[in-house]
């Protein structure tokens, strides 16, 4: 199961990129997999006036727990206060703030675009360029799918829009911390040298 909310413009870091400031932070929240937990989190955000940019929820490999990936708008409240309030929820077990530099992110996009005889080839070419797939074919429309980094999907949807997007849905990002790159031995050596 996955529940998601995508704001109207479908873009994640449009304003921040131009200003060179990141306004959105990704929180990976491990919660107990129980009825009403999502409501508690959504309600906390609403009550305290925090903005959710996107939200993705699904059970983890351990069915007792779910992982919620929340992209928060830190213009609405300091991130520290948001995480502290989240921690007060009894069903919240662990919160990790994922720095974009130290995490891998992925998102899924499906879109129905206009693709009559004249433009169909161009759309298919674009989908191929973005490693996407065509998952449904109509007389004058195609439904396409792509996955990847949110910024890549931003580009994809922007390019698709020139053909005319009929409907578009994104899942909101899911993310995990990046893995260790260095072996322990190597780290020790570096440590001594430093």
């Amino acid at each position: 199961m996955s529940i998601s909310y995508i704001p109207g413009n479908g873009s994640y870091i449009d304003a921040s990129e131009s200003a060179g400031v990141i306004h959105h932070h990704v929180l990976s929240v491990l919660v107990e997999n129980r009825a009403g937990v999502l409501a508690r989190i959504a309600q906390l955000f609403s009550r305290r006036g925090y903005n959710i940019f996107s939200l993705a929820v699904a059970p983890t490999d351990d069915s007792r727990f779910s992982r919620i990936t929340i992209v928060v708008d830190v213009d609405s409240a300091p991130l520290e206060q948001i995480t502290k309030q989240l921690h007060k929820l009894i069903n919240v077990i662990k919160i990790s703030e994922l720095d974009p530099a130290d995490s891998v992110e992925c998102e899924l996009l499906v879109a129905t675009v206009n693709a009559d005889i004249s433009s169909r080839g161009h759309v298919m070419e674009l989908v191929a360029l973005f490693d996407g797939k065509i998952i449904d074919v109509g007389i004058d429309k195609l439904t396409v799918l792509a996955t990847g980094e949110p910024s890549k999907l931003d580009d994809f949807s922007e390019l698709l829009s020139s053909f005319g997007i009929v409907e578009l849905q994104r899942t909101g990002r899911v993310a995990l911390a990046k893995l260790e790159r260095q072996s322990n031995k190597l780290k020790n050596t570096t440590g001594r040298a430093g």
Binding site: V31, A35, G36, A39, Q81, K84, H87, K88, N91
Partner: protein, 574 residues
Amino acid sequence: MKLTGAQALIKSLEMQGVDVMFGLPGGAILPVYDPIIDSPIRHILVRHEQGAGHMAEGYAHATGRPGVAMVTSGPAATNIVTPLADAYMDSVPIVVITGQVATGLIGSDAFQEADTTGITMSVTKHNWLVTDANDIPNVVAEAFHVATTGRPGPVLIDFPKDVANAEMDWYWPTSVDMPGYKPNTRGHSKMIAAAVKMMFESAKPVFYVGGGVLNARGSEALAELVEITGIPVVTTLMARGAFPDDHPLCLGMPGMHGNYTAVTAMQKSDLLIALGSRFDDRVTGKLDGFAPGAKVIHVDIDPAELGKLRRPDVPIVGDCRSVIEDIIRAIKADPDAYQQRTDISDWVKTVKQWQEKYPLKYEQPALSGVLKPQYVIEKLRDAVPSDTIVVSGVGQHQMWASQYWKFNYPYTWINSGGLGTMGFAVPAAIGAKVGMPDRTVWAIDGDGCFQMTAQELVTASMERIPIKVALLNNSYLGMVRQWQEMFYGERYSEVYLSPDLPDYVKWAEAMGCASFRVENAEEVGPTIEKANEINDRPVVIEFRTDSSEKVFPMVPAGVTNDNIILGPEGLNGK
């Protein structure tokens, strides 16, 4: 052993040591009321569900043990939302059990159905909807654990009727397993060392003591710390009594209606040592201009309070008592640092001068003249045992009670601080008296508040809970009137209540109370004496007080605490 869900619920409450619960039965909770007949738990039948919630709060405030209330579904559950919100704001441990329609009917708009867990999510520390009778002992154990540990607060158990009727195999859990709930009670030793260092470097320190010290049962530890350091103390509205008012270093209440010395000492200090207080707007005034020169050590068991409004220089997450004891230990461990600490005697002298120069003041004209509410409170204070529990509602009378009473013992002052719930006094006083039957309990109430929940005096009469009520009848919603007089050009909009409609003496009598009316200063003392003699039923004394009397000092909304108005004469200067 097979039990029904209802029996298991009552047995679980017994296992938790519950001796009394406040409630009112109804359709969905009916099955649970049957085993109450066979239980040693005393059930007090209220007249309105809000009363049950406030009684549970009063009980918890007075005893330190969680208060329990039980009501049915739908309208009963919504009626108890106010006490839940009140308890959430003031960190009061109460456990509320609500009936719910059968699980199969949930979501079908059944009779007396309400989404109780949804409605109460934002005013409880946590809530549970029980869907399986086998979960009952675990849920009850978890609920009491959550309500009473960490930062205390209200919890709610929503209990569907079919779960109450289902059978389960009885067990009692030896521990609770809540992976997401592990409150931290011990302060970090590095932070404690940093706090001690900062305290010793400060020339103008103030202890800013809040309700967290009372919740942590930390009054004795605080008294020792004050003796060692000689630092003056302010006690917020929620902390009155946490440090004795008669102590020379006690400055009393700060805030919007705090006294000049408490307000100004904080404002001019160079170090605020906030212990279980939360920089509430009624204390800080305009936040940007609050104690501008002060560093802040902030101790609170709730990490989210640290930096929520004012960024602390030394944040300490922990139970106030444990942290205070650790601070004392750290001070004793380093006598050299203690010897070399900054001398604060000039500061203490300055503070004492303020106290002498700017005491609280009011004028009671000739004994036959119009009666001042402050006079009533002073007379009452001097005529009752010093450990009397005082319970107030919300408004002018609450501020006067907090200002003019002398609180020298912890847990003798019970009021609705954060939420400001009118009508709190009568039911909370009943709950306090039930928890502390050997103590004298006086409610100091206003006429507006009294009319909201007075029907619980019927409960008090029926259950023989002899509380006493000092009703300060100024025939107005006094605090609103004060604001309209001061800030709305004396345009009084919907604040007049009438002095004798209802006839409070007859009303109280009709509810089974002894009742008196006092109209001038002369009669105050003798009538209180009469009330003190009555211990077999509740007593209500209606004091007809001056409608035009205002609460001073006052820091108007939206300005800094430097702009404190000391009395009515200060208004003319504007």
